[in-house]
């Protein structure tokens, strides 16, 4: 019986991906651990490894195919002793045009189950039949739900079919909304009319309201109506405002779509407010110089490390979060998650977008460890080689535009983070000290807070703790 290779879920939320490249051809032999294909998700390019041995008998989804749903059959491996030529894709396999079953396959009545049934596999099929092909099958918090064939709560990701009511499908189609992007609240996660209507009103791709709890709660007089959010203009409407030929159309890649979706969601659903503060940097610059000067040299004569101001900012924010633990939190719809460690995201600009890899337990790490980790992750981010778990989670992030000379700015919170710190350029400024003008090095930082988790005074407390660490940086070393 041929082995099915299904589109893997590289992260718990992944619903589809692009099949970027096949690294094996039909007829090639594969063994466990061989990288057979590259898959591009919204943010990263991932390698798909084989876990079984055999001959790559049939590529069902050709390379370059976009938006292949998770769990769709992408290829077949002929097992040992099986004639690769007799392996055919099932007629029902979605995506690519699958050839009709060949005569010899049909002529094997002894094995009626020979035709793989992707549907059955995805629902309750052989648990090791597919998902393990992905190198990444662990979400940061443990095994990815989608990686478990029987995993509950991820009905969207469990098959190549989107379960939606006919009415929901029609309303979505007419509104030009991709129904696969909508979280269903109906039976077994089915997308129903009200889910689509909610999505059209904005923010509908968020998880449905939490189930009712056992404890009786006072009856609300009626649910407050979802706020009516403005619809953005459609492509045709926007294009109509410009002369034809006066622009170039750039199709959206996965990262751009994700950025757009997440940040619209953030601005529409997260009540932002902003707190700005100036931090003097003289002590920090002196300490940094001292530390960097003390770095040993490797055999090429390069220093072993070179700390940036941003490394100090990450460390200071991490420690500040430990000192003001109430601010180290994220909003989770019907509850708040208070984090134990300081997992700090670092915004990294890359060609065509940005990533926010997360430095975990940054409060425990040394400055040199943080520096090395950020450097490594930033480098891999630029090549789009970050693993999904490297850019998920965290309760806050640092966005630094100081190198461009930006004095101060307000950053958009990256959900579900509770805050984000926007860091401006360090510069010489004249300040009044003891009644007389003095020149100091200073930078302006602005903390964007999600008011649902971090109130004004709490945000101010966090920022004050941060300033104290930046201005007395030895505190970070002890």
């Amino acid at each position: 019986m041929p082995i099915n290779i299904l589109m893997p879920a590289l992260s718990p939320t992944m619903e589809k991906g692009n099949l970027a490249k096949w690294l094996k051809k039909e007829g090639d032999s594969v063994k466990s651990g061989d990288v057979i294909a590259e898959i591009e998700t919204d943010k990263a390019t991932m390698e798909v490894e084989a876990v079984d041995e055999g001959i790559l008998a049939k590529i069902v989804v050709p390379e370059g195919t976009a938006d292949v749903p998770v769990n769709e059959l992408i290829a077949l491996i002929a097992a040992e002793g099986e004639d690769p030529k007799s392996v055919t894709a099932p007629a029902s396999g979605g995506g690519a045009a699958a050839p009709a079953p060949k005569a010899e396959a049909a002529a094997a009545p002894a094995a009626p189950a020979a035709a793989p049934q992707p549907q059955a596999n995805t629902v309750q099929g052989d648990p090791n039949a597919h998902m393990s092909y992905a190198r990444v099958d662990q979400a940061p918090e443990g095994p990815a739900t989608a990686a478990k064939p029987n995993g509950a709560g991820q009905p969207q990701a469990s098959g190549n079919r989107v379960f939606a009511s006919p009415l929901a499908k029609r309303i979505a189609r007419e509104a030009g909304v991709d129904i696969a992007s909508i979280q269903g609240s109906g039976p077994h996660g089915r997308v129903v009319e009200k889910d689509v209507r909610a999505a059209l009103q904005g923010g509908g791709t968020k998880p449905a309201a939490a189930p009712a709890t056992a404890a009786p709660t006072p009856a609300p007089a009626g649910k407050p109506a979802a706020p009516q959010l403005a619809q953005s203009m459609g492509a045709d409407q926007v294009k109509a405002m410009f002369e034809a030929g006066s622009y170039e159309e750039v199709p959206l890649d996965g990262m751009r779509k994700t950025i757009a979706k997440r940040l619209v969601e953030s601005k529409q659903t997260v009540p932002h407010f902003y707190l700005s503060l100036d931090c003097e940097l003289d002590a920090l610059m002196a300490l940094r110089e001292q530390i960097n000067a003390a770095a040993g040299k490797d055999k090429d004569g390069k220093p072993a490390y070179k700390l940036s101001v941003n490394d100090f900012v990450i460390k200071a924010l991490a420690i500040a979060l430990q000192r003001v633990p109430a601010a180290n939190a994220v909003w989770a719809e019907d509850r708040i998650l208070k984090m134990k460690h300081s997992d700090v995201g670092v915004a990294v600009a890359i060609e065509g977008g940005l990533f926010t890899p997360v430095v975990r337990k940054a409060e425990q790490k040394t400055l040199t460890a943080i520096s090395a980790e950020v450097k490594d992750m930033a480098g891999r981010a630029r090549n789009r080689r970050l693993k999904p778990e490297e850019y998920t989670g965290g309760s806050t992030a640092v966005s630094n535009l100081g190198m461009y000379g930006i004095k101060d700015f307000q950053a958009v919170i990256n959900p579900p983070h509770g805050t984000i710190l926007a860091v401006g350029a360090g510069e010489q400024r004249v300040v009044v000290k003891n009644g007389a003008p003095a020149v100091v090095q200073a930078m302006t930082v602005t903390l964007s807070c999600d008011h649902r988790v971090v109130d004004g005074a709490l945000g101010a407390e966090l920022l004050a703790a941060f300033k104290q660490l930046i201005e007395s940086p030895m505190g970070m070393l002890v």
Binding site: P166, V192, P211, A212, P216, P218
Partner: protein, 478 residues
């Protein structure tokens, strides 16, 4: 503790006993408090015994029309007492059945009248209300009055006939459904005040049995909640059967004779008096919210209805309300469904409030009337641009073969989305047919799925198919 329960349900009607059984299934220690009859009004004095009476009337009607089918029947007649006896027998059997079901599910039955003394406590006293006669025997093994504790108390006390001032039922000349259900003999003439489901079913029963029936309805149409077109057709059929119908007319005064009643009826233009042997007051029902201690524990009540959050929860934690006391539509199937939702909510399961727009309504007069969803007028009122389909029974082979060529199926779609907004039927067996549209609406089908579905031939259900096709200009048999 013996007197300690997880859930106590006050009222053993269709809402209460179903809630109790569901609660027991979910592992709750459950009791039902009942003062008069398990199965409530529905089973003892409503839905069920009227169906038994109407079945007798239906067969009598067929016997009278035996010649139409090539049959001969002589000496056709009836024994009113035997018809009533059969009806009571049907109720008695089901009443016993409810007792068995509760026992099987280990639900305790406490016999008496309950009042909530404080949240978590119910005091049961001996029944004060004299039971309607004939009463089914009190089930064996019921628990005695006393004080009982329960974490959750569900009020499911149902409703009773509404009385109009000056025209209060006296049980002798002015009947409610109680007396109308067990007539000692057929009256010669009858005034039925109110033409909702209860009024029209009795009017239809008594008219078929040869009674001179006058229906007085204050609204402009009979069956006021039904689609105007269907109600109009019903009226024509009733009038053809010899029923007198006055709409937009109000009984302003009644004068009682020794064995007759004279009603003064004002239709806004003229005033007339009609004398009949008996009168049935069928002007709706009101919830039984009194003497339950609800005010004492602070449960919010508005216009005689206990305010709930749609999942059965009142404003007082631990106190719930379902069925008639929780508001219209006051129908057994709505109460049952609410009971299940309420208990599952207590269990912490993921529940949704019922969509009241999708609750079907059935009236078992001759011809039967059944509907679900919006009437044409209501749909337009809500701003829908509608497509309306109609298909008469005369175009249906099975209807002709049955000798029931009079009937109509009307369907209402949203022109924009193809959503089935409402379905309205009149004719033979439509009360058994309506569930097809109920399922369709709950699955959010559009006209497309309904058109593509294969309906069995020859059945009355084909009229449902054709009506949909008519809405889209594709009807075949007309």
């Amino acid at each position: 503790m013996a007197n300690q329960y997880d859930i106590i349900v006050i009222g053993g009607g269709p809402g209460g006993y179903v809630a109790a059984i569901r609660a027991a299934q979910l592992g709750f220690k459950t009791a039902v408090v009942e003062r008069e009859h398990l199965g409530g009004i529905c089973l003892n004095w409503g839905c069920i015994p009227t169906k038994a009476l109407l079945r007798s009337a239906e067969i009598y009607h067929y016997m009278e029309h035996a010649k139409d089918y090539g049959l001969s029947a002589q000496g056709i007649g009836f024994d009113a007492a035997a018809i009533v006896q059969r009806s009571r027998g049907v109720s008695g059997r089901l009443n016993g059945g409810v007792g068995m079901l509760l026992k099987k599910n280990k639900v305790d039955v406490i016999w008496g009248e309950a009042a909530i003394s404080k949240p978590g406590e119910v005091v049961v006293t001996a029944p004060k209300k004299p039971a309607m006669q004939p009463q089914n025997p009190v089930p064996k093994g019921v628990l005695e009055p006393g004080t009982y504790a329960a974490k959750h108390i569900i009020v499911a006390t149902g409703a009773r006939p509404r009385a109009l001032p000056g025209i209060e039922p006296d049980g002798k000349l002015i009947w409610t459904y109680f007396e109308a259900m067990v007539p000692p003999a057929m009256p010669k003439s009858l005034i039925v005040m109110g033409s909702g489901a209860i009024g029209i079913e009795f009017a239809s029963f008594y008219r078929t049995m040869g009674v001179d029936v006058t229906v007085v309805e204050v609204m402009p149409q009979i069956l006021p909640v039904e689609d105007a077109e269907i109600a109009g057709l019903a009226r024509k059929r009733f009038e053809k059967q010899g029923m007198k119908i006055l709409t937009g007319a109000k009984v302003t005064k009644v004068e009682k004779g020794a064995n007759s009643i004279t009603a003064t009826i004002d239709d806004g233009k003229t005033t007339q008096t009609i004398t009949a042997e008996r009168m049935i007051s069928a002007v709706g029902v009101v919830g039984n919210i009194e003497n339950l201690g609800l005010e004492k524990v602070g449960v919010k009540i508005e216009r005689g209805i206990v305010v709930t959050d749609g999942l059965g929860r009142t404003n007082v934690p631990g106190i719930y309300a379902i069925g008639d006391v929780a508001g219209p539509p006051m129908l057994a199937h709505k109460a049952e469904h609410e009971g299940v939702i309420c208990v599952e909510t207590i269990k912490g399961m993921h529940t949704h409030a019922m969509d009241k727009a999708k609750i079907p309504g059935c009236t078992y007069c001759n011809p039967q009337v059944a509907s679900v969803g919006l009437t044409e007028a209501k749909a337009k009122e809500q701003g829908f641009d509608v497509r309306v389909g109609r298909f008469p029974f005369i175009g249906n082979g099975k209807a002709i073969a049955l000798g029931e060529p009079e009937g109509l199926v009307k369907t209402i779609f949203d022109k924009k989305t193809g959503q089935l907004l409402g379905a309205h039927m009149i004719g033979a067996e439509v009360t058994e047919l309506i569930q097809g549209y109920v399922i369709a609406m709950n699955l959010e089908t559009t006209e497309e799925e309904l058109i593509h579905a294969v309906f069995p031939h020859p059945t009355l259900s084909e009229t449902m198919h054709e009506s949909v096709m008519d809405a889209y200009g594709r009807v075949i048999h007309i």
